[in-house]
Amino acid sequence: MALDTSTVHAPHFMTGDEWQIPTFALLRQDGTLYDGAEAPELSQDKALRIYRAMRFTRVLDERMLAAQRQGRLSFYLQCTGEEASVVGATAALQDDDMIMAQYREQGALAYRGFSIDEFMNQLFGNALDYGKGRQMPIHYGSAEYHYMTISSPLATQIPQAVGYAYGQKLDEEGRCTITFFGEGAASEGDFHAALNMASVHQVPVIFLCRNNGYAISTPTSEQFAADGIAPRAFGYRMHVIRVDGNDLLAVYQATLAARRIAVEHNKPVLIEAMTYRLAAHSSSDDPAGYRSQQEEAAWREKDPLARMRHWLERQGWWDEDQERQQEEQLRGEILAGMKRAEREAPPPLASLVSDVYDQVPPALAEQLAALEAHVRRYPDHYPRGAAGLDDAATQGGQ
């Protein structure tokens, strides 16, 4: 109830235009700090771990998009251009804080140590994929790395992150949850539900919006009329900061501070990372239909990897040679991993019915039995299914 706030006697309408939300930035593109800016404490080791994750993500994206173009992969989706937002935020967390991402955050997994094989098994949906070949490429998940399996329906993870963080608060182990999402997903009702519940129930959650300018073809000007996502925080009396999302140091520092607010005070925080989706939305998309090359070029000038590399070089922690070596090494490892994953068998036929429930219910077991019998009758018609029959090994495969 706000009746005790000041009273006025003329009808004045506000719009919020009165207040600008500034952008927090530390690093210029050439790797120097802005005047008055101070770099966060960051050891050489950690800085290089961060940079490696960014570079890994970039190389992975390039290789896998190429693989998709060659028809080796059905689908791919790049993080390209947004590595600083994703890796910077992840690096500011504890490694066992929970991550509930949208789909463009492979950098977070890379930072935490998800292996090339783990990436590849998911991308190729083979028998070793944790997800048992059930979801499209890029729907990673890892219990070990506290990375919730990706779900395609947008924004559903945002209120889930609030519930997850509420559980963490009850457990009193000083952990928090971060949820990543795009500025498009922030239009969903689930976003509003999540922010409101988080602020009412005071949970340790960080909402990180990657404002990358587009939701597929839809520019932000057709997504919202306001100055970005940040001002929505005022509607929930939530801590908010806008940050240059291509500036690793700024994202890192903002998230460090946000984590403190979340964990020490059980207060949610919204971070809006201003960035740009340098690539197409996904391998199914061609942005030429909806945005200009000039615009893309202007943003390529702000490449977060280059910016970070310049900073590392100025620190004396990195050089041209190391860069080349790392890139080659990553490329080689990724190609080798891809080949290994391609050679793996598909998931067994029985994986079609497991995990629907903790146990396979009798009716579903019957459906599987009927399917098995059918596949045995027509093994040539269902090569994958035949390969994945229980007795496929003894039959010598298919």
Partner: protein, 325 residues
Amino acid sequence: MAHINMLQAINQALDVAMQSDPKVICFGEDVGSFGGVFRATSHLQEKYGKARCFNTPLVEQGIVGFANGLAAQGHKAVAEIQFADYIYPAFDQIVNESAKFRYRSGNLFDVGGLTIRTPYGGGISGGHYHSQSPEAYFAHTPGLKVVVPRNPHQAKGLLLASIRDPNPVLFFEPKRLYRASSGEVPEGNYQLPLGEAEVVKVGRDLTLVAWGAQMPIIEEAAELAEGEGISCEVIDLRSILPWDRDCVADSVFKTGRLVISHEAPLTGGFAAEIAATIQQRCFLYLESPIARVTGLDTPFPLTLEKEYLPDALKVLEAIRASVNF
């Protein structure tokens, strides 16, 4: 044993669940200090504190989204949706998320700790937004369990089993029976099995199947039929998903006739699934067509709800028609 009504039994089940497991958390609109608009969560906040029993903002998609996350984190989330008619804003969180959480992650993550309680059904002058029976929507959704109790004893035992079941469960509470149905209920802790139907009355000539609020109706119809010399076997499905096909089929093998009743509209209601399955399993045993006695294919009405509802007389007519086919 105490003689209590269904609301009290549900309240006891929640109390026992929270008492026996500190991971159980109850929440929803008005469920906190007020104890819910039907008072199913009375005194729980008092006993277990605001952190474990609380009001949420008025947003069903948020309630279930939050519950999914809380369950994934390892808690047992017991969410209340104030009326089943208001569960649809949470449909995406239930159908795309709760139901697929374990499967899509290959069992890395699950929301098995989730239970959604919600009052459903008509006969309380609620019109079309306080009377719906939406169980069939969820029964078409693999990954969910759907449970409906018929009386206080069942409600307590099935709710305890639902909360502890390692799968997400939708628990539909027949609100017409909240106070109307009472009976002996064991104190303390007990569970009844999910996925198993119960033969409530053994019979010879015809099988009657229903669940929840429709059980007293078909039991009354069975009695009326008995007066005409027709012996009905009465089955309470209890779980809609997964449902106990063997129990129903075994009965129909014996009786050769089947009448199913629910309040939801006919087209696409869960009776369709039962009929489709049983006509296949019992084809050579059926002596007459399987009949469905259901709500009309319209929204739920108000002034004429008595006319709309599938009552004992309508079930009796279907029994007669089946026997005289």
